[in-house]
Symmetry: C2
Subunit: 196 residues, 2 copies
Amino acid sequence: MGRKSLKVERKAQILDAFERCIVQYGLEGTSLKQVADEADVKRSIIRHYIGNRDDLVDALIERIVRTYQKQLLELDASAEDMPAKYYLPQVLDYLFRVERTSRPQNKIIIDVLMVAQDRYPKAKGLLRELFKSITDSIAKDLIDAYPNANEKQCQQVAYSIWCLSMSNGSMMWLGMDIAYNQSARASAEALLKTLE
Amino acid sequence: MGRKSLKVERKAQILDAFERCIVQYGLEGTSLKQVADEADVKRSIIRHYIGNRDDLVDALIERIVRTYQKQLLELDASAEDMPAKYYLPQVLDYLFRVERTSRPQNKIIIDVLMVAQDRYPKAKGLLRELFKSITDSIAKDLIDAYPNANEKQCQQVAYSIWCLSMSNGSMMWLGMDIAYNQSARASAEALLKTLE
DNA sequence: CAATAGATTGTCATATTTGACAATCTATCT
DNA sequence: AGATAGATTGTCAAATATGACAATCTATTG
């Protein structure tokens, strides 16, 4: 009996608010009160559903990483029976799309957590795993698409393309000439050519 | 008359302490008191020589960017009459060196400021200029080294190598398999080959 | 030595932040 | 209806952060 639990909804609501606050005030610049206000709940609610400050950060880390992992699985699944030759360009489109006006919040959070990794060991491990999954996934596609290339080469190119994409995203956000985005993508394609 | 000014030394001393604090507690996680203690001065000293919190951050931004700009000029100068063919490998060595034990503090500070760019407009502008300088400098070397390539191609490759290096540095710091470092460098060299 | 620019220290008031816990309310089930 | 698990609110105390400013000290120069 008793009342039905709101744990899942409230937790999501709070973490959403936390993310918005982080974007605005930074990770350690965000107080629990700010999060509470942004989530439109009392501060005690955060304590009740999540815990103290560190618990909040840990919860955020887990959620953001799981979100990306899930997206990755869905993408993989949707490309299940598509020949990699056709699928790969879509991957590149995704990796090198530019969002000049509103930067995708997820990328900000990931970057923030990357920078805070020393203070949050959980972030370090989970992010490493996530990035490993991503590059492995790209590598798998490459192996499919380029039968002449060996596995090692594909892993190398996959990792490099991922790095290119990450930094390029940051550079675009910094407001560097948008022409560079085309450059990054062109280089990614040049790397693919080496696998032919 | 009066006493000789300590502005330069004290400012440096304070900013040094600030950097150490940032590494440990994060940008907004660092209080003026912590900085003062780390610098072994009273908090009022910070106020006296630099100002309030925002002034402190702005001062840090200016210093770190100027530091890199200066290093870049020195590097350029030291390679003045060296043929780019011999100089380029050194550039790559620098961009893809790995520091597994102690991450260079400068890179941390740059990353932290990148992430905080929305809150500190000065950081955004200065970092963009800095990165532009760096990629331009690399591009210049490439133009020297590969007479068959056109300027645009060189700029593209320079930017891509820079991106590769930046992200690869972050990935290494995150503790990803060190073999990937070799991959990133190999890809950089593959991109150079496209200029031959 | 006396004046003075600048270094250094100290203190106050105010506002925030956080952890802890008590108290109350309310949906849901028997 | 009444019990109860869980939601929600409220409050306290302790710690910390910051801005402002007053007061004192000390090298340096005329």
